[in-house]
């Protein structure tokens, strides 16, 4: 597995303990929603960076008040066909104001990176030997966007009518 963050391959600093019986580990950990609920106090007391891994049927509304505790939220794609995390990502970014790392994990395909980036993901766990090249392909294929998704890209409608951005947005491309 390769980790691509902000357009560059990087080492993963987090230990994914979300499937483990005991979330205790050294350094930054990635925990499940159940673990977060059961071990909340202990996890906060560790004074380490903390990541939350959400299944595709776990809605972000259930953690909207806790987001300040997480430096990483990982959203799972059990198969590339399960598109629920696209909505979760937008809600985290646009509704709940989550500004930390948002990572796509699971069945993450090259052809979906562009969609994922548009909805707010800025890191991706990829099954590839050359994550940088994949990102380059995915990020450069399409350059016209019709939908405002809060990703900073100007839409065709905004360009046509010379409109100012409707709202302050997160920083744009991560190339």
């Amino acid at each position: 597995m390769a980790l691509l963050k902000d357009g560059r391959p990087q080492a993963d600093e987090y230990t994914d303990v979300s499937a483990a019986a005991d979330p205790a580990a050294r350094g930054p950990v990635l925990v499940s929603l159940t673990q977060w609920r059961e071990h909340r106090a202990a996890l906060l007391a560790r004074d380490e960076r903390l990541g939350l891994r959400l299944q595709s049927d776990e809605k972000p509304a259930s953690v909207s008040d806790d987001l300040q505790h997480f430096d990483l939220v990982a959203l799972e794609f059990p198969t590339f066909r399960d598109g629920r995390a696209y909505s979760s990502a937008r809600l985290l970014r646009e509704r709940y104001g989550y500004a930390g790392e948002l990572r796509a994990v699971g069945d993450v395909l090259l052809e979906q990176l562009h969609f994922m980036h548009r909805v707010g993901f800025n890191s991706f766990e990829l099954d590839t030997d050359d994550a940088a090249r994949e990102w380059q392909i995915a990020a450069s294929d399409i350059s016209v966007w019709y939908q405002p998704t809060g990703d900073g890209r100007r839409t065709a409608v905004e360009n046509r009518h010379g409109l100012a951005d409707a709202a302050p947005r997160r920083q744009a491309a991560v190339r």
Partner: protein, 551 residues
């Protein structure tokens, strides 16, 4: 008609080049069929029984003569010289070679057409009233909003992996010609009490294995709120729609299971949060798109009832064509001319490249270069001067395109069936042709009057049998093709699902069974009563007796 600007063109061209690279990787063996499948489906390329099938969107059913010539060119250059128009205002090519698909798509892109989202679990081609812009009864041209929806839904990053495919239809007339009640979302424009135009929003209609008539979840929606409201519906569906069972994944099942009231509550809650966002449609963009649909400069003509009567008296076949195929136009002196693609010479909806070129020429000569495709697999020339109808009819007859049967027994909607489709249980086309043959006699056809017959080759219902006045469903019964009947369906303003009559019939007995149903109708109908009205008045019993004998 809408024309691409630089942004629209750039997106479609980039998409073609992206797919070209993906095809190259597939041909070089870098991608397996499994990995390639989702990529080709996102561009409308299916793998069918015998070959690849390419489905191209005809946005809201509107074509220019140049676009129709391009479809002819693709049929001739990359396929076997013909194409098949579908019930969703698309065209399919059934014999295309994989390595040639990118070139075909590039040619189509140059004519402002594409296959993006013509398959896959995403928002499909938006369909509309085929008489949009020329219907006497419409409030505004629904294609303005179809184009706005087309752009918003194209490569929508949040809604490209929905639980299942998603179909939207728009009408702006009191008479529903777009089947809005049997779509995932149907939008019907009307005026509210204050006299302002807005949309009635209908959700959860559909056909397939579990057919439903849609539920109204909002009586009136301001046009400027259209996209935020659609986005709210899609977001609720994307999160809450079922993904555990392919056959329970459409939005109709969600709406049915939680109820229209609860569904509408969830949509409203979501909508309130995004209503005042960049999704709010700028008036300038609505007006920009409206200008494209301003319509041609009509001449000042007078209606020609005397001339048409005279021509009809001289030629009974022209009289029959006028009666069945002509519809009223909003401008005096003009008419809407329907072109039937249901002749005995070809499967329903099929058209040769030569015929496409000929119709493109006729559109240039008689109808401001415009053509429409309707959801019953026929074409329309939307604005023909009444004084030219006879000449148009003669020219259509030369191309074997003057069949006078719109809305009648032989205007049969049929899916491709087992002859082409890998999902089908039974053949559809031969059944359609046999029924057509039986009712070829024109006089008899006009005695029977308005009746819709729809044939599907499996329960996925691509032939829309649930909403045919007479619906025919092909099933596999121990290795043999059987055909079950439903009666009383309609996809119009009075939408209804047909009711099952009982056991099915083997292929050879199917057309005779249709004849028994129609003879029963002729026996018991009141004067001028349509088949559907008779059925609604008397119910199933006499038809059941005609089909199966006295109980």
């Amino acid at each position: 008609m809408y024309r691409y600007d630089e942004f629209d063109s750039q997106l479609v061209n980039e998409r073609v080049e992206q797919f070209r690279r993906q095809v190259d990787r597939r041909l070089a063996g870098e991608l397996s069929e499994d990995q390639f499948k989702p990529l080709r489906l996102m561009n409308g390329l299916y793998l069918q029984l015998h070959a690849y099938m390419l489905r191209i969107n005809i946005p809201y059913g509107s074509l220019s003569s140049h676009q129709l010539r391009t479809l002819a060119h693709v049929a001739r250059t990359y396929d076997r010289g013909y194409g098949h128009f579908t019930t969703r205002q698309n065209i399919q090519y059934n014999w295309i070679q994989l390595q040639q698909v990118p070139d075909a798509l590039a040619d189509l892109a140059a004519a402002e057409m594409h296959g993006i989202q013509s398959s896959g679990n995403c928002i499909r081609n938006v369909t509309a009233d085929q008489y949009a812009g020329v219907a006497a009864d419409e409030l505004t041209d629904p294609r303005i909003y179809c184009e706005i929806i087309r752009q918003w839904s194209t490569l929508h990053p949040e809604f490209s992996f929905l639980p299942r495919k998603f179909k939207i239809a728009v009408t702006a007339a009191p008479t529903d010609r777009a089947a809005v009640q049997v779509h995932d979302i149907g939008l019907r424009m009307h005026r509210n009490a204050a006299g302002d135009p807005g949309f009635e929003v209908i959700v959860g209609g559909g056909q397939g294995r579990t057919p439903f008539i849609g539920k109204i979840i909002r009586d009136w929606l301001a046009p400027s709120d259209l996209l935020s409201y659609l986005e709210a519906i899609l977001r609720v569906y994307n999160q809450d729609g079922r993904r555990d069972n392919l056959y329970k994944s459409r939005i109709k099942i969600l709406v049915h299971q939680i109820g229209a009231e609860e569904f509408s509550r969830r949509v409203d809650a979501e909508w309130q949060a995004i209503r005042d966002s960049a999704l709010q449609l700028p008036q300038a963009e609505i007006e920009r798109i409206r200008r494209y649909f301003a319509g041609p400069e009509f001449a000042e003509l007078a209606d020609e009832p005397d001339l048409l009567r005279q021509q009809a008296d001289a030629d009974p076949q022209f009289a029959a064509w006028l009666k069945a195929n002509k519809a009223d136009h909003k401008m005096p002196g003009y008419a809407i001319a329907n072109i039937s693609l249901k002749s005995l010479n070809a499967p329903p909806g099929d058209m040769t490249a030569r015929q496409m070129d000929a119709v493109a020429d006729l559109a240039d000569q008689y109808s401001f270069g415009e053509i429409r495709v309707n959801h019953r697999q026929n074409l329309v020339l939307p604005s023909v001067p009444q004084r030219d109808l006879n000449a148009l009819y003669q020219r259509l007859a030369e191309q074997q395109l003057a069949t006078a049967n719109i809305g009648h027994t032989s205007d049969i909607v049929a899916c491709p069936g087992l002859d082409y489709c890998s999902l089908a249980n039974a053949r559809s086309i031969p059944i359609a042709q046999e029924i057509h043959q039986r009712f070829e006699n024109m006089d008899r056809l006009h005695d029977i009057g308005e009746v819709t017959i729809n044939i599907s080759g499996c329960m996925n219902a691509c032939g829309h049998h649930h909403v045919g006045n007479i619906g025919i469903l092909g099933v596999d019964k121990r290795g043999e093709e059987y055909y079950q009947f439903t009666l009383g369906g309609s996809s119009g303003t009075d939408a209804a699902l047909g009711e099952r009559t009982g056991r099915g019939f083997p292929a050879a007995e199917t057309a005779p069974a249709v004849e028994r149903v129609l003879r029963t109708y002729l026996d018991i109908r009141a004067a001028d009563e349509r088949f559907l009205d008779t059925y609604r008045r008397v119910g199933m019993a006499p038809f059941k007796e005609a089909l199966y004998g006295a109980a």
